[in-house]
Symmetry: C2
Subunit: 405 residues, 2 copies
């Protein structure tokens, strides 16, 4: 028995606040983390691979994980990638950072969906590019308007390095880009010679499954790069994700000095994940968390309908988030201090836009809390709404319309 060492320094990223129900962070439910299964897989992988699990790993990722991932994507996506199209990363954020490093040059323009994952905007900005919102409406990116924007930017002599979006169970809206728009967007980007970078983080969190086929699986070779994650389907602390891309992009990522020097970017854990899959844990775990997060989504949806009838939203078919549109044009921003005073928090919509807009919206995460806690959180949010003196009529416009105003 090991005696715990007293530690005054934090262990985890999440900072819980006593008395506050957190609907802000997109972190997993504590009970959804596969502690026993990961222990089993780790033990089994070290027994199976021995020292090969602890030395420098193959740069694009260990073969057993790549082979299994290709099989799995053949089941849950429109097509299985080839092993030579895969690069194993230390999470989706790391995947985006690597892809931006090889596709972007300082001073380039990067187009992004609007609204989109707020921290992806930070990762992209680290590459010294100008981020520009692609035109979007309630269904997501508008391909025709994006074609016009691309032409305008190109006429100004600027290079567009890539177009980033979360087309499946978008963070923050929860919605998926319709099939017709997927094909049209790929065609627009291919004509302009701009790679589409598809953040496919939420694919496995589909309620009900299956998720729509990825852009990558339907794209002409070399026109789309997809980034994926095991943070949602297994656990974020193991820092594993992947890239699927044309072999030259995979080779460019593998040729980064850091990768060449360090070998596979998270080798030991990548083999543990291969074992987690080989032992059947992955399939069972994804089924269990789909059921859990579906129940949590349903509880949050029901509570918002009951307590906040003035909010408009689309029920997401997957992911972790509900995107609320409120009647007052600054409701999402103005409500936050009242919500925090009432013991609940969320992420204001403004954070998911490149420009100063989206103040009407807020993102609620249903990932971390049990159904009853989600219900109580929405009750507190409704109380805060009343305390803030915000209008009680329903929001104008279509559900979840991301345009400002």
């Amino acid at each position: 028995m090991v005696v715990p060492r007293p530690s005054g320094l934090p262990i985890v990223q999440f900072r819980s606040r006593a008395g506050t129900i957190d609907l802000g962070w997109g972190h997993p439910h504590p009970a959804a983390l596969p502690v026993e299964a990961w222990t089993d897989a780790s033990h089994s992988a070290l027994r199976r691979y021995g020292g090969a699990a602890l030395t420098y790993g193959h740069t694009t990722g260990p073969g057993p994980l790549i082979e299994w991932l290709c099989e799995r994507l053949g089941e849950v996506d429109g097509a299985a990638p080839e092993p030579g199209q895969v690069f194993v990363t230390a999470g989706a954020s790391h995947a985006l950072d690597l892809v931006a490093a090889v596709l972007c040059r300082p001073g380039d323009v990067v187009l992004v969906d609007s609204p989109t994952y707020h921290l992806a905007l930070r990762i992209i900005a680290d590459h010294r590019v100008d981020t520009v919102a692609a035109p979007a409406d309630e269904e997501g990116i508008d391909p025709d308007a994006t074609a016009e924007l691309l032409a305008r930017i190109t006429r100004k002599g600027r290079r567009v390095a890539m177009l980033y979006l979360v087309p499946t169970f978008n963070n923050p809206t929860g919605r998926s880009l319709p099939a017709g728009r997927r094909a049209a967007l790929l065609a627009v980007a291919a004509r302009a010679g701009v790679p589409v970078v598809e953040d496919d983080t939420y694919r496995e969190l589909a309620y009900p499954a299956p998720a729509p086929a990825s852009l990558f699986s339907g794209a002409e070779p070399g026109t789309a790069v997809r980034i994926g994650s095991f943070a949602k389907s297994v656990a974020p602390g193991v820092r594993l994700g992947w890239i699927t891309a044309a072999p030259p992009v995979v080779a460019a990522v593998a040729a980064r000095g850091c990768v060449d020097s360090g070998g596979g970017v998270n080798h030991a854990n990548a083999l543990t994940l291969a074992e987690f899959a080989a032992l059947g844990w992955y399939r069972r775990h994804v089924e269990a968390i789909r059921s859990r997060y579906r129940r949590q989504r349903d509880a949050l949806v029901a509570a918002v309908r009951d307590e906040l009838p003035q909010a408009r939203f689309a029920v997401p078919d997957g992911g972790w988030f509900l995107w609320l549109r409120l009647p007052h044009p600054y409701a999402g921003t103005e409500l936050l201090p009242h919500a925090e005073a009432a013991g609940v928090c969320y992420v204001p919509g403004r954070q998911f836009f490149v420009t100063d807009t989206g103040h009407r919206y807020l993102r609620l995460s249903y990932s971390m809390c049990d159904p009853e806690t989600l219900t109580e959180g929405v009750r507190r949010l409704a109380g805060a709404y009343r305390a803030a003196g915000l209008p009680v009529g329903s929001a104008p416009g279509p559900a979840g319309d991301p345009t400002p105003g």
Copy 2:
């Protein structure tokens, strides 16, 4: 019992060649990888921390690892850093990549030791800077000449972003910068406002211990950044290293979009390493590998003295490498095809220089092979040397003089 899956794809980075003794790669000896101990630590960490080991980790690293690392550095370095000076990374290569990302702007100049770790040159170049060799002689970087070079570069209107070196058991020379030069170099860099980036990867591999005090431990606050690694002291496949730096540098690294989005960069493994240390495995393991690598060094040194008396070298007090200077000015480059034909390989000296020099040298690694294999490798190398018709007289100049010619 798990049936192994057939895999046609590589698992590890090292590519063994049948019949070839590899003195090239700086990879650990297979028997020096702590498979049983890591299994034990992983199991114990998951039992102790539960879901906290698998969710998003604290961005600068989990408290228990940071606290222990500070204690350990207090034992094996000149001083213990403060916890707020530490950032846990996914290896030393990743640490250098992060440090370069926050210190460099495209178009800056980066000074590097000469010769220096060849893959560090690649990592630095990825940040779109111009790499320039700092003046060096057989003892390492020359502080006075470096001051003059800094002044010349600055007069040209260029910004020098950082100065990179491996002052302790340098890769490739195995030598450590003398104490007087350490202090002088810190003073020169501080006066010029150029941060020293100290690659301290080999600190724990000291034969005999202790290693010299780090530049970081003797530097004025804010003037030096040190990067460290668990790749050599524990295992490279777990991808763990660290940065020690002034708190503003730590904060800048933690503010990278990728870190903010993904949390601690290798959280689950960082907690396993904390447990590996808490259970006493770290201390025992480092003692065992010091003993192993010291024996391997001694075998290589003896074999070179016996078989290649024309080679000049300094016996390293630590690390994994022997740096040979040969009489013929192109011996290190010209010998390689003959060596490979004879069933032995190494890294030609040229690779460790920014400019087209160093052809006289070669780096032998004693990390991967048993003593008898090292001896046989040098026998083959001596045979290749004769087959190449290279001169048998001893090399001119001081042992290991890195100047060209």
